[in-house]
């Protein structure tokens, strides 16, 4: 009897890997290149995967390592993204409390990589704080604080303010909001 090949499971995790990669890189083409690299690494290093452990966590770990090593190589390119995205996040939420999904994406893209990653792992992918901490190689408390900061920042960017005067009204306001603390108003 032959043991099942864990490589056969890789395909099941592909959509989740893409979702994580797209949110992490903020760029569909870069994300798919990273997923491709991850897939090849996973395939050729499958003996390093411990059968019975969480394959998705293993794949996400490879994916994020791929991302951070490529980011180190192209730091200047990545840091420019923020300015471009900030310009686009001008639309203020409608008074009925609704807002376009595109603005949520833009706000998500404005988070620091480490905060966005923690939030994606815990808030969207269903990993526990402990699993996320393992994957990122940091303490559980670090993941918790990154997740909390990410949520607070998103709320701030998306205009969840008690004070109505802090609504986003135009490009100028938005660029101030996104580059400094709201409390400085």
């Amino acid at each position: 009897m032959t043991r099942p090949d864990p490589r056969d499971e890789l395909v099941e995790h592909l959509p989740a890997m893409r979702a994580f990669a797209i949110s992490l890189t903020r760029n569909g083409a870069t994300a798919d290149d990273m997923v491709q690299d991850t897939l090849v690494k996973a395939w050729t290093n499958i003996e390093k995967f411990q059968v019975g452990t969480n394959m998705r966590a293993w794949l996400f770990t490879i994916l994020r390592n791929t991302y951070y090593s490529s980011r180190r190589k192209a730091k200047r390119e990545v840091s420019d993204v923020d300015g471009v995205l900030t310009e686009g996040l001008a639309e203020k939420p409608a008074h009925d409390g609704h807002m376009q999904m595109t603005d949520f994406r833009k706000a998500l893209a404005l988070l620091k990589d480490e905060q966005r990653e923690a939030l994606l792992l815990v808030g969207a992918s269903g990993f526990s704080y402990e699993e996320a901490a393992d994957m990122c190689g940091v303490a559980v408390g670090t993941i918790k604080s990154r997740t909390n900061r990410a949520r607070a920042r998103l709320a701030e960017l998306l205009g969840h303010h008690d004070n109505e005067s802090l609504e986003m009204t135009d490009d100028a306001t938005m660029s101030v909001l996104s580059s400094s603390k709201v409390s400085s108003f």
């Binding site: 395909v11 491709q36 897939l39 409390g97 994406r105 998500l108």
Partner: protein, 56 residues
């Protein structure tokens, strides 16, 4: 274009729930796209390479 709910109250738990709901929607949109052909082709190629090497 799907819309997302914003919470106007200052309730932290409710706000977090809404943010997580939105995150999941962002994720689900990609999940719903299925698997692009390039990845199916890649897996096929990797499998083929292995069988040519006689390792599987």
């Amino acid at each position: 274009m799907p819309e997302v709910m914003l919470v106007n109250s200052g309730n932290k738990d409710e706000r977090e729930r809404v943010i997580d709901d939105n995150l999941k929607r962002v994720f689900d949109e990609t999940l719903d796209e299925g698997i692009p052909d390039r990845f199916k082709d890649l897996l096929q190629k990797l499998k083929q390479q292995d069988s040519e090497k006689g390792t599987s």
